[in-house]
Symmetry: C2
Subunit: 371 residues, 2 copies
């Protein structure tokens, strides 16, 4: 049988994730597997927790990676915090806000939402109005909307949610590692991320943190969490304390990978990493403008790691993306939902966010746009 | 910062999983990450599906790995198939049967069970009696009970379940790759496994298959699957057909690892792999008997890959397991629940099941038992 793995071409990953992976992370994935209850593995788990706290800007005891991709982090937050009939407010301006509505609705929450135009940010004044008219258990927002490239004002929204007494749930899948994440400063009570964006680790884990308030709501539940696999009341006994009770077999080698990725980020320094993302973004925007392409999102709320570019008229969306991948080994992303065919999503995440990569894309795009 | 990954000691994994990982699988994990919608990745996904069908003994179209560890496979089967009020019968003779009761109960099933003594198998005649008295939507059993080392009679139970018209759900986490798994012959409708047992891949994925009957029940649901992350109605659109709609970002590198592990099993030949497990098991049993230790489970239903050994009187359970790990770099497992302190669980799974490994353990055990 031919081995398909031999034919994998190293690709410059400039889509909405996964991003290019650090060499140290690849090496980590291939380290010898040891037992999930081995005291040495528990040392690694403890280091991962500490490093996650550092990069998330939190001192929350309940901070660790869930054994699933970023979306399992979203599922975990809602399934642990929502009890049937809870009123949940979702601030939606893209695919991932919509996904939150779907996830929470399936769990029996009374879901309310404010819909903002895709490509524009959540407006705090609208949130303020809504919170005056109604009491919610949870208010949820996406920090960096991967579907549109918009940064939402999580600090301002957090201040309003705190005043209203609700729990504050923030999706940091795409933001973590690329722009500042300050869980405790924002007053966030539940936060999740993914490994395959600005942490530059392959997909497979969802870093997650719960505040003490969130843990209190969890512990006061009237019924069991309706999801055994993601039940934090049990999982915390594996990640914390002295007994380390077995729940499920942790994804050992993926956790090695996350350990290496977090170490990379902390050694570079999050501030330096954020500056590197910003510089790559500015280089990309200026290069695209020279090519006659314009950015879809207003400068005031643009994300550096996810660049929504209006596809210039007359260009063949899928054709150009296909050529970039086939001829230049570069992946960029398509638009989703109402933005399908209208925008490209160019990711500058983690290890991808480097001047030589931006140059390579701009040259390739120039070639594709000429023909 | 010291790099903890540099201190990982290669360990002979003879516990209940993870098992020793093949070199080709480690190499696969470190292959370049590509996009989850890259046509080349889709080729790899298709090969994984085909290889899974071959090793599971099924032609089910809906066959693929879930993005979580083995327990997420259990959760997926129940959350997709159970609708509130469905009557579910669980045949329990260990931890993983108990876990099924918990999982199904949280999803609103009316859970009924037959409890068999831990260390003994499920008895078809008891199942037959129960099925005569009551109509069930789903009957579930564990093929290889990892907590006790017992093989359950899945073919005989399958015949009864088929006659009773219920869907048949089988846990093959520990059996797959070590003893024959014949999903279609058994008449199983939903089956899941894990990567970290006899497939000798690190933990992180749950191979899963649904029969057409199971898919029909899924499609006829009156309400959405109450778990977005594990909703097969959406996930099948990513793993099947021409559109390959994005659901969540697949764990790319873990899927490379599974591809390599399945390839290894198919190149060795499942029959040869099963014979290798049996031979290692016989070698272990005979060596243990010479040491004065006896097997906990009757010969007629002993698993080759999970050996429950009665801890000889006067020996220090935790002390000896600790010495094996610290001095000999060998991990074996402890007893769970009512068997804690009474048995050791010695795994001979996948790459671990080799004569030189059995020798190494027997020598180390001899040294530890003398002192």
């Amino acid at each position: 049988m031919p081995n398909l793995l031999d034919g994998i071409k190293p690709t410059l990953l400039m889509g909405p994730g996964p991003s290019c992976v650090y060499d140290e992370v690849y090496a980590a994935l291939a380290k010898p597997t040891i037992g999930h209850l081995d005291p040495y593995f528990i040392k690694i788990m403890d280091a991962v927790k500490d490093d996650l706290k550092a990069v998330l800007g939190t001192s929350n005891r309940l901070t660790m990676p869930m054994s699933g991709t970023g979306s399992s982090g979203m599922e975990t937050c809602f399934v642990n915090l929502v009890e049937p009939g809870d009123k949940v407010l979702i601030l939606t301006n893209g695919v991932f806000g919509k996904r939150m509505e779907d996830v929470a609705g399936r769990l029996g929450a009374e879901v309310d939402s404010i819909q903002f135009e895709w490509g524009t940010p959540v407006l705090p004044q609208e949130v303020e109005k809504k919170l005056k008219g109604q009491k919610y258990s949870i208010v949820a927002v996406v920090h960096a909307e991967t579907s549109t490239g918009v940064r939402n004002p999580v600090q301002e929204v957090g201040d309003l949610v705190k005043a209203a007494g609700a729990l504050y749930l923030v999706d940091c899948v795409t933001s973590l590692g690329g722009i500042p994440v300050r869980m405790d400063e924002w007053g966030a009570d539940a936060l999740y991320s993914g490994t395959q964006k600005c942490l530059s680790c392959p997909p497979g884990l969802a870093p997650l943190s719960f505040s003490d308030r969130a843990v209190e709501k969890l512990k006061a539940r009237k019924s069991k969490v309706p999801n055994w696999y993601l039940d934090l009341t049990m999982i915390m006994n594996y990640w914390e304390g002295n007994t380390r009770a077995y729940h499920h077999t942790a994804p050992i080698n993926m956790i090695y990978g996350l350990y290496a990725a977090l170490r990379h980020l902390l050694e570079e320094g999050p501030d330096n990493a954020h500056a590197r993302h910003r510089a790559a973004h500015e280089q990309l925007v200026s290069g695209l403008e020279k090519l006659g392409a314009s950015m879809y999102v207003d400068k005031s709320c643009r994300l550096p790691m996810l660049n929504a570019v209006t596809i210039p008229q007359g260009l063949d969306d899928a054709g150009i993306r296909g050529r970039l991948l086939k001829e230049f080994d570069i992946e960029i992303g398509n638009g989703l939902g109402p933005l399908a065919g209208k925008i490209w999503r160019i990711g500058l995440m983690g290890h991808t966010a480097r001047p030589e990569n931006v140059d390579r894309l701009l040259k390739a795009l120039t070639a594709c746009m000429k023909q």
